[in-house]
């Protein structure tokens, strides 16, 4: 499957710990500095695709204050995919930084 910014953020949110839907929305909002706010449609669409890809799975339910929470967790494959994409992102960001900001912020010798 295609890894978009939204699906990547969901993977990242689940990497920390298993979360329920609403918790994922908040975690993504937090991870992205309040710039990515998942709507319900986006969330469940992403979740369905992650489960179909074998990268996430349902992880039990819980009732808190009369409200149902449905949890999801990463699979091993999901964790691998996340790590791989994170490597690519890191490399890309480093490359981009060189192209975008010609002056070295770290005061390097080059």
């Amino acid at each position: 499957m295609r890894i978009t910014e939204q699906s990547y953020l969901v993977l990242l949110a689940l990497a920390e710990e298993p979360r329920h839907g609403y918790g994922i929305v908040q975690a993504v909002r937090d991870l992205s500095d309040d710039e990515v706010r998942l709507g319900a449609g986006t969330l469940y669409g992403v979740l369905d695709r992650l489960v179909a890809a074998g990268w996430a799975e349902a992880s039990g339910e819980e009732v808190v204050d009369g409200r149902l929470r449905r949890y999801y967790r990463l699979t091993g494959a999901g964790r691998e995919a996340l790590a791989a994409h994170t490597d690519r992102l890191t490399a890309l960001a480093a490359r981009a930084r060189r192209l975008v900001a010609p002056r070295p912020a770290t005061g390097g010798a080059w």
Copy 2:
């Protein structure tokens, strides 16, 4: 407009220097370690949206070996948008690295 990985890579390719369509495809392929290969449909779709957003503009034509080259360059606004998104990407990648990698080094062959 929405900044996707594809449109981001095109912005990055144009940040280095003005390029023509085919040159952008090759630059993106290079920037992404041969993992993102823009098809014609993707390229011109992205280009249209970048121009419509005021982030890129046509920059003259040239004929080389009997083939027409149509050049595009970044605008000031495009450069700002690119820098802003690069900052977000860098921050996200750093955050992700903390969550994802208990292992010390990147260990790649690059």
